[in-house]
């Protein structure tokens, strides 16, 4: 999925890095390599929050369980054990249950965030305009904090 048409429209360099990573072949892996840019990592976390809330607020919390199973299956990762529970915890932490993710190691949390945000680009993917709007919203959250 190509997002190159949006690359010059993000407000910040970090935003452009994220959009660039999301346009690559393995977006989750590309996002996980942004660690050298603290601004991009910060923005990635905000983008995760924005994307998760837009997807799940107002829905049955059980939908998170099904989404995680689908996501891990798509990534050929195990769906029945600890990774699935941790992934659900990290997603639900952005939906008002932060305590669920307290015990999850930072590296694992970061991996899960990359998987979920990278999933925005799973075919057919989020439309380019919507993706850009999400990134801008995340940029605004970073600027406010």
């Amino acid at each position: 999925m190509g997002q190159s048409g949006t690359l010059d429209r993000a407000a910040t360099a970090a935003g452009r890095l994220l959009l660039d990573a999301l346009g690559e072949e393995g977006p989750a892996r590309s996002l996980s390599r942004l660690g050298s840019s603290p601004q991009a990592v910060r923005l990635l976390h905000e983008l995760f929050t924005v994307a998760v809330r837009r997807s799940f607020v107002g829905r049955d919390a059980r939908d998170v369980t099904g989404y995680i199973r689908d996501l891990l299956e798509y990534q050929a990762l195990p769906v029945g054990g600890q990774l699935a529970r941790q992934s659900e915890a990290v997603v639900r932490s952005a939906l008002g249950e932060p305590e669920l993710a307290y015990a999850i190691p930072a590296l694992r949390r970061a991996e899960i965030i990359c998987l979920v945000v990278g999933d925005l680009a799973r075919p057919p993917g989020v439309p380019a305009d919507e993706l850009l709007a999400l990134v801008r919203q995340a940029e605004a959250r970073v600027a406010r904090s």
């Binding site: 919390a61 059980r62 369980t65 199973r69 054990g81 529970r85 669920l100």
Partner: protein, 146 residues
């Protein structure tokens, strides 16, 4: 085929009596190295209590209130949801956590339902019956509300 005569009522095993003590908050902190049969019985009793307390589609907020405190929250929630028939991730849960959750949640469920001593005894005795039937004991059993 159901037996013509119901089995004699009453709890028959040490693991079953331990469950009654747990529900009354009178159990010693550590059961003396529970064997597989004891853990199996506790899991069945937990499942019976869970399905008596909750409907399969009970709200997660309600379930979370039951599992909150004293246990790894998400593991406990998943075990409870699995007992209600949901397809949730319950692999890779440490045996001690699993057993502890079965016991503690059993006690909480009994407390929440305000079961009488007789109802508690009947529940544990039913779990013992199911535990003695290996082919059947793994299947969820729907129970009536208390």
């Amino acid at each position: 085929m159901s037996p013509v005569f119901s089995p004699a009522p009453g709890v028959r095993t040490g693991a079953g009596r331990y469950l009654q003590l747990v529900a009354h908050e009178e159990a010693p902190q550590e059961f003396d190295a529970p064997d597989e049969d004891a853990r199996h019985l506790w899991e069945i009793a937990f499942g019976l209590a869970a399905r008596r307390r909750f409907e399969p589609e009970s709200s997660l907020a309600e379930i979370r209130r039951t599992v909150a405190g004293g246990l790894p929250t998400l593991e406990a929630e998943m075990l409870l949801r699995a007992a209600l028939g949901e397809k949730v991730p319950v692999d890779e849960i440490d045996e001690s956590v699993r057993t502890g959750a079965h016991l503690l949640l059993f006690a909480r469920l009994v407390e929440e339902m305000a079961l009488t001593d007789g109802e508690l005894e009947g529940l544990v005795a039913r779990a013992e019956e199911l535990a003695a039937e290996p082919e059947l004991s793994r299947r969820p059993e729907l129970t009536d509300a208390p």
